[in-house]
Symmetry: C2
Subunit: 224 residues, 2 copies
Amino acid sequence: MSSNTVQPVPATQAVPTTQAVPTTQRGRAKENRRQALLSAAASLFALNGFNRVSLEDLGAAAGVSGPAVYRHFSGKQAVLADLLVTVSQELLDGGRHVADSTPDPLAALRRLVEFQVDFALGKPDVIRVQDRDFSNLSEQDQSAVRTLQRSYVEVWVDILAKVHPEIDAAELRMRAHATFGLINSTPHSVRSHGRRLAAGVARPLLERMALAALMVDSTPATQR
Amino acid sequence: MSSNTVQPVPATQAVPTTQAVPTTQRGRAKENRRQALLSAAASLFALNGFNRVSLEDLGAAAGVSGPAVYRHFSGKQAVLADLLVTVSQELLDGGRHVADSTPDPLAALRRLVEFQVDFALGKPDVIRVQDRDFSNLSEQDQSAVRTLQRSYVEVWVDILAKVHPEIDAAELRMRAHATFGLINSTPHSVRSHGRRLAAGVARPLLERMALAALMVDSTPATQR
DNA sequence: AATTCAGGTTAGTCTCGATTAACTGTGATG
DNA sequence: CATCACAGTTAATCGAGACTAACCTGAATT
């Protein structure tokens, strides 16, 4: 009962601002194309890296060829930006939801871990792109994403502070980062294999490792 | 006494095959330039990513401008390849040394963790380049690096197998990868600040988190 | 001292790929 | 039904940057 999918959080791509789904046939088609482009971008960027993917490749992967991408995004960078801002926002929203809806700190921490593991196993491509191609964003987009990420980290730090009242925020922040590194390692290792197969084993393992790492005592003065 | 620097392992850049240092003044200068280029490459690539660094930038950072790089490397990719092959080889050598010189499995595991933490804190740039720009290597170089990395992982798995005789290799491999993710998270978080300052706190923390994560019991059938 | 030769330099060359221009066909709209 | 607006298309344009050519200079070597 501890490794559930934290269901209340919508795991689907969502438009940042609440946007009504276009009713007209044409508008629907456009939205589909847009999602197809984003999805293609996620897997292409993850596989080859932002710079090794041409707009031609990207368009082709979405069943459209070349400069058609400009009908949906202002440029190549904008596609990346949309991808990364969206994922950062999703993480933040999900994390806040968990934090706000789980009074017990330790339970909240468990749920945060589960949430992050689900995310890493569910969208390894986006995770990979996020920490590999971040620097291909414009300065502006970089700071936007950084702000969201910082907020997400703070959600973790706030919960961690309740679990470890004696540890200062700087160390808790480092614990959070290290834990993200641990959990997000899967996109690097579980590459392209039978994802479903490995995920079943990976999920509980990653959760237990993450919790164990997070719960470690603060560095003892004497080696005990 | 547990967080020493694993001193026997030379942490300096080393030429793969045992190469005599050139005696002639010119030869010495050339070697210096070469090292300057590699060092510049490490920090530039880490900061901006392989593709955002031009040969002009790279040369300039080493006090030489532009195509002079071709006097030392066959091309831009070759610089990256040298960097990554060297670091992979260093890790493998260091890991093997630890494994071979530490009979007690648990002690060996501790030393492996210390070694990896030292490496991550000591050469964050190279670590960062390694898992960000790997795909910019030629197919050939990729497989060379992969082979070295696989061997390094096997060193860990072999030690882990002695500590956890009941766990199968696949899971141990995943534990190792997750631990690398945890330890290597520092290049991402401890960016460009007072490195020495943070490192003093980071080292013991990362070591304890890594150990705790690695020592977790195998997934219990019942939630205990 | 004369001669090589390799590390540097600057001025091309050449390709790739992002962006833009000029058109086209077809749902939406009146 | 006539028009419009707009997703797409193909054919330029344009800049960046890796690599090459042609020369230069001074340490090594004889």
